[in-house]
Amino acid sequence: MSIRESNRQLRLRRTGRMPSDARVRHFDELSDDEKQLVAELAGRPRTAPETDTLEDGDVVKFTDYYLVRSR
């Protein structure tokens, strides 16, 4: 994972509804750094710099379903 050179910040929001076109990824598909990031952000009101592979609109299956927001 590399941090993108942008000012965009990544957040994870718990989501109950799955957008039909969302890319859904299981936690185990992520790189070690992304795993670390998701474990830190999930369920917390925190942000982190955007990464190369977690895209706005992606859904990650961790302890719940989390929607990736990159703004």
Binding site: S20, D28, D32, K35, Q36, A39, T63
Partner: protein, 412 residues
């Protein structure tokens, strides 16, 4: 003439090899043969489908047009029945022959059946393919009581499916706790508690002696070795995998609970490679032959195998795998080889947080984290570096542990 590559298996190992070959050998002829009726899908999300949490669509990874677009010849419903390494050819159940310059075996495993009476009855399920997941979902939705057997990483998926579908289940385990080879009772109890909260009752010192069936041949109970009878209309069995090595029994390919490969994923036959769950590989991190059974590792092995098929020796497989459980409110992650080692350290680091690290000759070889995953990168780093931490193992149990917290080794 361009090189031809035949890949058996369109799971993540075979498919990532096909992708890499297409990218790095654009002129190569690539053929993928699979006995399944559908192209690559996300095997680690099919449990979410069976739980009723995900629809089918996001589980597909490669639609069939992906293969056309990438000029990969995909053959679905094609069982390879014979490999002729002298003629460089494989034969299918329909008598077709595919010749190759390089062959990749990415054939994974098949769930084992319990060697007990009525093990094949209706309502008794094993879990490997998307088709299995569809059958499981249909069956569990109609069920009221279930029995689960197999106290490991796949068994707990059955438990989570029953929990999500509001089916009460007895989880029959032979030992005193779930995944007893990797967790002590203290760590496992956190998992048991999470199961109980979802209506899954762990039963220890148990197992299955036989299944009983009704007049239609549908399972109606499991009887354990103590004579206890557990009524059920659904049973999930996840007691391990048989690696699909029967295909190569009459070949000179070396096997040892899988297909033996070196760190470049090459077998003892020069133009035959293997990748994914099927391999018994030279684990450069562990320093001995090992097996991995995880998505990330299978994907990486597929990529590495493809690169070495193009140019042998170009890339080693050096990897610390991990496997997580995401069914509960807290995370669980196992890494490396948590069931190996000659020593271990463990601790409850905070309420709801537990960790165990397995050591061999003073070096980290694997571990389990429950609740707090923050030290995962540090532990994996120690494992990759092969650092001897025998004098400082207790440091690993400190909340917020970082590799820099360890005193420098004498030679540094």
């Amino acid at each position: 003439m361009s090189d031809s590559y035949v890949i058996i298996g369109d799971g993540i190992a075979g498919a990532s090899a096909a992708e890499t070959l297409r990218e790095e050998a654009p002129d190569a002829e690539v053929t993928v043969l699979t006995d399944e009726g559908e192209s690559l899908y996300n095997r680690i999300l099919i449990k979410e489908y069976a739980k009723g949490k995900l629809p089918e669509a996001p589980i597909s990874i490669h639609q069939e047009d992906w293969y056309d677009d990438h000029d990969v010849d995909l053959r679905l419903n094609t069982v390879v029945v014979d490999i002729d390494v002298d003629e460089d050819a494989v034969h299918t159940h329909e008598g077709e022959t595919f010749e190759y310059d390089n062959l990749l075996l990415a054939i994974g495993g098949t769930p084992q059946q319990l060697p007990v009476e009525n093990a094949e009855a209706d309502g008794i399920h094993h879990f490997w393919t998307f088709q299995d997941a569809r059958r499981i979902k249909e069956s569990v939705e109609d069920a009221e009581q279930a029995v689960i057997v197999g106290a490991g990483l796949l068994g707990i998926d059955f438990a989570a499916i029953c929990g999500a579908q509001d089916v009460e289940a007895k989880y029959l385990m032979r030992g005193d706790n779930w995944w007893r080879y990797a967790l002590s009772e203290e760590g496992a109890e956190m998992m048991h508690e999470a199961m109980r909260e979802r209506g899954i009752e762990p039963v220890f010192g148990s197992g299955v002696d036989r299944f009983e069936v009704d007049d239609d041949g549908h399972v109606e109970a499991a009887v354990d070795p103590n004579g206890e009878r557990y009524e059920c209309d659904f049973a999930g069995v996840a007691i391990g995998l048989n690696f699909n090595t029967e295909l190569i029994e009459d070949t000179p390919l070396e096997t040892d609970d899988g297909v033996v490969v070196d760190e470049f994923m090459r077998t003892n036959v020069d133009n035959v490679y293997a990748a994914g769950d099927i391999t018994a590989f030279n684990d450069l991190v562990l320093g001995e032959q090992a097996k991995n059974g995880s998505w990330g590792s299978a994907k990486e092995q597929g990529t590495v195998a493809a690169r070495n098929m193009i140019d042998y020796g170009s890339e080693e497989f050096r990897w610390v795998s991990s496997y997580s459980i995401t069914h509960f409110d807290f995370p669980f992650l196992s890494f490396g080889h948590p069931t190996l080692g000659d020593d271990s350290v463990e601790a409850t680091t905070a309420d709801g947080e537990w960790r165990r690290v397995a050591l061999k000759d003073g070096k980290v070889v694997g571990g389990v984290l429950i609740g707090d995953l923050s030290p995962q990168s540090a532990f994996k780093q120690l494992m990759r570096e092969g650092r001897d931490i025998s004098d400082h193992a207790d440091h690993l149990m400190e909340p917020g542990f970082a590799v820099d917290d360890l005193p420098a080794s004498p030679e540094q």
